[in-house]
């Protein structure tokens, strides 16, 4: 049978043509699990007695990934060792795993992506996941969909996998969620806005164009973002180009979707079946543990396909006991529903274990109560201890009658007790042995810097941890003065990620998330919706505006922007750039300082007007000058990213009214008209507008000037009217002739602006 099966394999390979690659970012880039993660990376924390990384690898293996790059930053040697000894490195696993060590300076997923780019790791479409993923979603199907889409649309660079859940799902992070705006038909992600638990977000601003261009949109705030992305090969290079992208969602996705330069599309894959979630904080650690024990991750469950290869016996009530027969449960002990007990663990008389995970080689003393807790291997829990909703590290020794309240994290090797009481949300780690600094590895130094801080702060904290304790207490997260409340890692927001913290005192229920979605949907017809939202006074109580259009900093930004535009155009003028290049430069500037298009237009118009030299005596030379400048640079006005001719005229008027080039208004207008930068209808429209007539403005020199400009405009329109009569009369006339007349008409209207000019014009002719 051998030849047949290998032939089948070969055929399969031919079909796929290329190896499916995956990249695991095996670093969390945050410190939510401290102190559990001081001496080991987060991806090696066990969940249901198997390291997170194994769950991730299994999820990828399920999808038929053949080559996996594991990007590690902190404690890379441990990850390397783990991969080397795991069953994946054995022959026959069919998967090649390459650990990649990245620099210590990699502080964000964005940095890691740039590293991927510089190393040139990926050769085709790849799967990007985090090292803390638990999933049974058929990623290969998503890849298929992605590739299919790429065939028709080269700009579809990424597909994000999201999982539907209710708004209040235990596995859905409140602290770090997002609003997705999707096209219902193509499931293209049109807009992405991240949300936080604190400050609560009650509003999402959705760009008007999205509603205008897509008849059916879905606004969803009930997705679990699984952080499974199918990326095309250009994704790392986009990170390279945009060095300020840090987070994949908040910066990259948001950046790509809001950019009108990149013209790339991102799609969503809403997983109807399957399970996927990330262990991104202690709270999700708990909920994902429970999901695994309740078999939502099937077939990735302890009794069927345990990633670490342990064999568990599944007993009614979702109890899992190691199969090798070394677990000793005392007759009077009780093991409740949804429990997992590793091999060689002993549970003594009258001990109670309720919805908890107990590692291997643990000892649970008589009468101890373990309630909703996660106990890693090798830990000893003395008689009479009570542990509630906490995570206890490896080889911890909790001596008798110790009480550990909810939300506590106890680091590896800690000894507590006897008779100690750890208050809720306490964090303990083992006191470091004094080592000679010489043999400490770099990783240790890095990890220890924070520990040192904690240690030095010990004097100020007095908690009774019992006589035999070797623990140091981590202070509760104090709000930093320089803490940016916009950051996801802000202290209050972190409370939403904390195990056992209902955060109910933050007075947050999730009403905004649902209603705001509906609200925005109902306003679909309201074309002014976007502006409307932007103009709302954004008091912190009602809205977290992610749209930074509203503070005083913007004024500064704007003036800076004007200045930049001026400089950029001056450079362009001086160096004779092509119009296209100048336009690209302006677009980039606009992106960088995030100003509305109208500002750019104003700036460009004024820069061009300023470019025109005032020639003493005016006349032909002046007209020549205007024609030159406008024909050379005029097209730029319509290339900055949108065409709005009326606005152009208004901007011109506004600029001329407060500039010494007021006399040139008519001529410039005519020149613009001749160069097809503005059209007759637009001039008429402008002319109708109240603002252009200077109505409602307080009388001043400027207002007068505006009125003057308007009058010039009126004269021009008169000419148009006459011309149209003319052309109707002389419909048989040659084209050249009409053009001539057009020109003449333009000139005449110009000249009426200034009598001198007019005279000279006439002389000229």
């Amino acid at each position: 049978m051998a030849p047949k099966s290998t032939a089948g394999n070969e055929k399969l390979l031919d079909d796929q043509a290329e190896v499916l690659q995956a990249v695991i970012l095996a670093d969390s880039f945050n410190k939510r699990f401290r102190p559990l993660t001081t001496r080991k990376p987060r991806c090696l924390l066990p969940i249901c007695n198997a390291p997170l990384l194994d769950w991730t690898l299994e999820s990828l293996a399920l999808a038929g990934v053949q080559e996996i790059f594991v990007i590690c930053r902190s404690h890379p040697e441990q990850i390397k060792a783990k991969i080397a000894e795991s069953r994946w490195s054995k022959p026959g696993s069919g998967i090649k795993i390459v650990p990649i060590l990245t620099a210590k300076e990699t502080f964000s997923p964005g940095d890691a992506m740039r590293d991927i780019y510089t190393r040139g790791l990926v050769t085709g479409d790849f799967v990007l996941v985090m090292g803390d993923l638990v999933s049974n979603i058929r990623i290969d199907e998503v890849v298929k969909v992605h590739k299919e889409r790429r065939k028709t649309n080269k700009d579809a660079i990424m597909t994000m996998v999201v999982k539907e859940s209710g708004a209040k799902h235990r596995t859905r992070s409140k602290a770090d969620s997002a609003v997705f705006v999707l096209d219902s038909e193509t499931s293209e992600c049109l807009h992405f806005e991240s949300m936080m638990g604190y400050p609560p977000s009650t509003m999402a601003s959705i760009p008007r164009e999205i509603l205008a261009t897509h008849p059916d949109v879905e606004i969803r705030n009930d997705f679990i973002d699984c952080s499974i992305d199918i990326c095309s090969v250009e994704v790392p290079s986009l990170f390279q180009d945009n060095f300020d992208y840090l987070d994949i969602r908040r910066d990259f996705v948001h950046g790509v979707l809001t950019s009108d330069l990149l013209m790339k599309n991102i799609y969503c894959y809403v997983a109807k079946e399957g399970y996927a979630a990330r262990v991104q904080d202690t709270k999700s650690y708990e909920s994902i543990s429970k999901d695994i024990l309740s078999r939502w991750t099937f077939p990735l469950v302890p009794d069927n396909n345990h990633p670490a290869g342990h064999l568990y016996e599944h007993i009614r009530g979702n109890k899992y006991i190691d199969k090798d027969g070394t677990v000793i449960l005392a007759r009077t002990s009780t093991v409740g529903n949804k429990c997992l007990i590793g091999s060689s663990t002993r549970v003594s008389d009258n001990a109670q274990i309720i919805s908890s995970v107990v590692g291997r080689d643990c000892f649970i003393g008589a009468g101890a109560i373990i309630d909703n807790s996660y106990i890693f291997s090798g830990t000893r829990i003395g008689p009479g201890c009570v542990i509630e909703r906490s995570i206890i590290g490896y080889n911890v020794d909790i001596k008798e009658n110790t009480r550990i309240d909810r939300g506590s994290l106890v680091g590896d090797g800690v000894i507590i007790g006897p008779n100690a009481h750890l208050k809720a949300f306490g964090r303990l780690s083992k006191k470091r042995e004094t080592k000679t600094t010489g043999d400490e590895s770099e990783a240790d130094e890095y990890a220890d810097s924070e520990e040192e801080e904690v240690e030095s702060a010990q004097d100020s904290i007095t908690v009774d941890l019992g006589t035999a304790s070797n623990a140091i207490v981590w202070p509760p997260n104090a709000p930093d003065e320089d803490e940016d409340s916009e950051d996801v890692e802000n202290v209050k927001n972190q409370r939403f990620m904390r195990l056992g913290d209902s955060a109910s005192d933050l007075a947050f229920s999730d009403p905004g998330s649902e209603s705001s979605g509906e609200e925005s949907e109902s306003s679909e017809e309201d074309s002014d919706f976007d502006k409307h939202v932007d103009n709302l006074p954004t008091s912190s109580a009602t809205s977290l505006s992610l749209d930074p259009n509203d503070s005083s900093t913007d004024a500064i930004a704007e003036s800076e922007f004007r200045n930049e535009v001026k400089l950029s155009l001056e450079r362009a003028f001086a160096e004779g750039h092509s119009v296209d290049n100048a336009a690209v430069e302006l677009k980039t500037l606009r992106m960088a300082s995030n100003v509305p298009l109208s500002r750019v237009r104003e700036s460009v118009v004024s820069a061009i007007v300023e470019r025109i030299k005032i020639i003493d005596g005016g006349g032909v030379t002046q007209r020549q000058e205007i024609a030159n400048v406008v024909s050379r640079w005029g097209p730029l006005i319509n290339k900055i990213g949108g065409v709005d001719m009326v606005e152009t005229v208004t901007a011109l008027q506004a600029h001329c009214a407060s500039s010494e080039r007021l006399p040139l208004f008519g001529q410039i207008l005519a020149a613009l008209y001749q160069n097809d930068i503005i059209e007759e209808d637009d001039i008429r429209e402008w002319h109708q507008a109240a603002t252009s007539q200077g109505l409602g403005l307080s009388p001043s020199v400027r207002t007068d000037n505006i009125k003057k400009c308007w009058e010039i405009g009126s004269r021009m329109i008169q000419q148009f009217d006459e011309q149209s009569d003319d052309s109707e009369n002389e419909s048989g006339e040659e084209e050249g002739g009409t053009e001539d007349e057009d020109e003449e008409g333009g000139e005449e209207s110009d000249s009426s602006a200034d009598e001198d000019d007019e005279e000279e014009d006439e002389e000229d002719e």
């Binding site: 708004a167 799902h169 399970y275």
Partner: protein
Amino acid sequence: MASDPQSTANQRIVEDLVSRLRRRQLVGSRATALETLLVLRQVVSKARFSNIDQLVNVIRIVGRRLVEAQPKEHSVGNTVRKVLHHIREEYHTASERPTVQSSFSIAKFVLQGQPRKQTPIPRSETRVPLKENDPDDPDSFARVLKPVLMEAIQDVFDELETVYDNISKNAKDHIHSDEIILTLGMSRTVQSFLKSAAHYRNYTVIVAETAPSYGGREMAASLSSAGISTFLVPDSSIYALMSRVNKVILGAHAILANGGMFATSGSLLAATAARSYSTPVVVCAGQFKLTPLWNLYHEYGALDFGDPSAVLGFEEGDLVDKVDVVNPYYDYVRPELLDVFITNYGDHPPSSIYRLLKETYDDEDNEL
């Protein structure tokens, strides 16, 4: 044996099957049985051995690995047992040990009352003396035995290939005209059984939907496309309809040593309802589903629980936190509730399953 260079190739195909079993990428009794057989054939053809014990050991190691990978798919273990049984049989025939042969057959004779068509076909054409543990030529044993073994495995393979036909060939003797048959779930065996009966008889089938897998819908569509008059009913109405049903025909996931069976969830409901109306319950199953195991764990379930999402959507966020959902794949149906098993080896009452087991497998293999 594991250090053998050839065994790395073996290991790869074994591991490949193991991971597919673990990930449940391979489901269904017959499909797994076939895949297991393919792997075993490969292993036997590559294995190096100089006596029968080594060979048996190699197969057992592989078998244990596969069974551990998916203890709930009983047909894996059954196939391994069956292959071991055949190998021993061939070995005894080849080595011509009359003592073993005769004592074996007498025991069988007593046990069975009447010998089945198990009489080994005489293979006397190329009788090479079989020499175990030959120090000069350690491979000679393997060289002689291998072709015979491959043939034996091929026999098992053929049996699996033709299992549906063999089961359904007697279908017309079980289903009579104008009968109303109740079935549930999607079982290939039952499907071919009913379709083959439809060639001779005109009868009606009621198919229960079989939540949460809703295999019944597929079954109903398939039967009605074959021209059988078919009704699809919800599971809840099984009892109500039972008074009109002449016969219940079920598929099995595994037939247990006591004559009970594991079958798709809902089978117990149907069997119990049938009992209260004394409606006969007929089980159609391939012989590879015979499992030398007892149901030790749950009174009603088979210890194989699936994913709760089929019952309760994961998007019901509030409920997920508060409700424990149990979604068993299989029911355990007690032997008292069943009337007859129709296998490719003929028809058997539940009470004689133990005998069939003894015939099919060797006792020493019950625990791999």
